[in-house]
């Protein structure tokens, strides 16, 4: 074998290896979790200013729980802010922090009645309801950039909140929000395993926080008094 022939053969091998590696996609699976004891579900346990759980917004006139829509959004951060809500708000004050329209996903979920439940009972009920979604795939290919994963619960149907033909996302109806949780800033392509979603609040009266969480740009929003 001559040197040039060997070189050609070796370069061919290099290209072949590269081609195989490049065409061989590495698949990772990220599973959304709210903690073993549902500690991340505080965002679905908020009450309004009257003390009524906002999940009761799913009840119809006859008191029956209607399906909720769980809307998964990837908020483009354009960087890596801290994880605490204050840090995220501060970051988003001078960054767009808008959901990536192409990656919105929505899945309906049926919550059990929550009226009259104590807080632990309510957490367990919400956890059970969401546990019924186990194995459900939401996004086949997550964006490869720093994002904040947000899940908004709304009494709206999925059809109402899906991406418009013009590529924009319809804002949520704040009156129909039933919960919201979000993750720390994360690069999903570097993650393989569980992704914890939660909600920072120190009180049940956190409807305003849910509203901020579900907002289009994660900006600080004063309470409408």
């Amino acid at each position: 074998m001559s040197a040039s022939a060997g070189t050609r053969a070796s370069l061919g091998a290099v290209l072949g290896v590269c081609l195989v590696l490049l065409t061989c996609v590495e698949v990772r699976r990220v599973t959304i979790t709210f903690g073993d004891r549902g500690e991340g579900l505080d965002g679905f346990m908020c009450r309004d200013s009257t003390g009524t759980p906002i999940l009761t917004r799913l009840e119809d006139a006859a008191g029956q729980m209607q399906p909720a829509a769980l809307v998964l959004d990837y908020i483009r951060l354009g960087g890596l802010p801290g994880c605490r809500s204050g840090q995220v708000m501060s970051w988003c004050s001078d960054h767009s922090c808008a959901p990536i329209a192409d990656h919105r996903a929505c899945v309906p979920v049926q919550f059990s009645p929550v009226d009259g439940l104590s807080r632990p009972q309510l957490r367990a009920a919400v956890q059970d309801s969401l546990r019924s979604l186990g194995g459900t795939a939401l996004t086949p290919d997550a964006p490869d950039e720093f994002v904040l994963v947000r899940m908004v619960g709304t009494a709206q149907a999925c059809a109402e909140v899906e991406r418009r033909p013009d590529g924009t996302l319809p804002p949520f109806d704040e009156a129909k929000l039933v919960g919201c949780v979000y993750s720390c800033p994360v690069l999903l392509d570097e993650l393989d395993g569980d992704l914890f979603l939660g909600f920072e609040t120190l009180t049940d009266l956190c409807e305003q926080g849910v509203r901020v969480c579900a907002a289009g740009d994660l900006h600080w929003q004063p309470i409408d008094l």
Binding site: V14, L21, P140
Partner: protein, 371 residues
């Protein structure tokens, strides 16, 4: 690794890629126990060196070269003719005047002395005083002792011989030049000096015999005449047959067959421009020596000691390659870093490594999100 393996295979093929016609022929001969030659020959033929090995046997002991037939019958006839006072017949039986020096050149001093004795006697009987004196002079100059049959000649002849021996004659410095180290035999007597050599010889005609390994033996008559004589003798290179006889006589009994002289003789005897001589000394283990001669001169030597008898073949291959490289019969393979193929292989390996790393780093990822 793959690229390096390809490179090494290609490099080996390149080293051995010389065509059959370009491969130098190396004559291999083995001095050692029976069977060793066959094993070494088979091992070398199977080795990958880019040479053609040609096996040759060591010259075998040959009968000593036949001396010229001693003119015994002629001497007997001359003696009978002398007794019958047939001096002309006596002289005719003795042949030419050079017969005595011819016999001396052949190493037969006795015959030479007898020829001169009877020539002196028959010349004297025939009335040729001068011829008789010349023969007696030659006997004295050559320093030959009177032969046993001196008692068969007349007292007049004995007196002539005695006068010739007693006659004063000057010593003449004779310088003899020939191939360095040639041995001299003057008038049938070996000399203790090798050429170039200056000897003091009595004035007169002498017979010089010059012997040297690798050359034909030369016999010359020289006339030592005052004040001095210088003789230049150009020896003729020996024929393979003569060289074989010389090697057999000197080294045929196994004494130091790999000395420079021995190897030079063997090169001529075996008609081997490139001769690889193995010497195998048997013991509990083997001692293996090799000498490579190129155009008769030892170009390289190597030795292995404590060779396991079962490893004779591999040791011989190693020794052969060693001396062939050091004797410049084959070029050593260039160092790895001096081969272009090496750097091509390194470049290809680096490209593969870089490509693989890049491909791994840039490998597309698909992350699915779900509950």
């Amino acid at each position: 690794m793959t690229a390096l393996a390809l490179f090494l295979a290609a490099a080996s093929a390149t080293t051995l890629g010389a065509s059959e016609a370009e491969r130098p022929t190396v004559t291999v001969t083995v001095a050692g126990p029976p069977g060793a030659a066959g094993r070494i020959d088979a091992a070398l033929r199977a080795s990958p060196e880019p040479v053609r090995y040609h096996a040759a046997e060591l010259p075998r002991a040959a009968p000593p070269p036949a001396l010229p037939a001693a003119p015994g019958p002629a001497l007997a006839e001359a003696r009978q003719a002398y007794v019958k006072a047939d001096f002309a017949g006596c002289l005719a039986s003795l042949g030419g005047a050079d017969a005595a020096t011819d016999a001396l050149g052949a190493g037969d001093s006795l015959t030479a002395a007898r020829l001169l004795l009877w020539r002196a006697a028959c010349e004297l009987g025939d009335g040729d005083q001068r011829g008789a004196r010349d023969a007696a002079e030659s006997l004295a100059v050559l320093g030959l002792p009177p032969p046993p049959d001196v008692g068969s000649v007349s007292q007049e002849v004995e007196a002539l011989l005695a006068r010739a021996r007693a006659a004063p004659r000057p010593d003449v410095p004779v310088r003899i030049e020939a191939s360095a180290g040639a041995e001299l035999v003057i008038d049938g007597r070996p000399q203790r000096c090798a050429t170039p050599c200056t000897l003091s010889l009595p004035a007169g005609l002498h017979v010089v015999r010059v012997e040297a390994d690798g050359f034909e033996t030369m016999i010359r008559r020289i006339a030592a005449a005052p004040p001095s004589v210088q003789v230049r003798l150009d020896l003729t290179p020996a024929s393979p047959e003569v060289a074989a006889a010389q090697w057999t006589a000197r080294y045929g009994r196994g004494q130091e067959p790999d000395t420079a002289r021995s190897v030079r003789l063997l090169s001529t005897a075996l008609r081997a421009p490139r001769l690889l001589l193995f010497s195998v000394d048997e013991g509990r283990t083997l001692r293996l020596r090799s000498a490579l001669a190129v155009d008769g001169e030892v170009a390289a030597r190597a030795e292995r000691i404590d060779v396991d008898p079962g490893q004779l073949e591999s040791a011989a291959r190693g020794l052969a390659l060693d001396v062939l490289v050091r004797g410049r019969v084959v070029e050593p393979a260039p160092a790895l870093h001096q081969r272009p193929e090496f750097w091509v292989a390194v470049g290809v390996a680096a490209a593969i490594a870089a490509g693989t790393t890049a491909a791994i780093v840039l490998r597309p990822k698909q992350t699915t999100i779900g509950f």
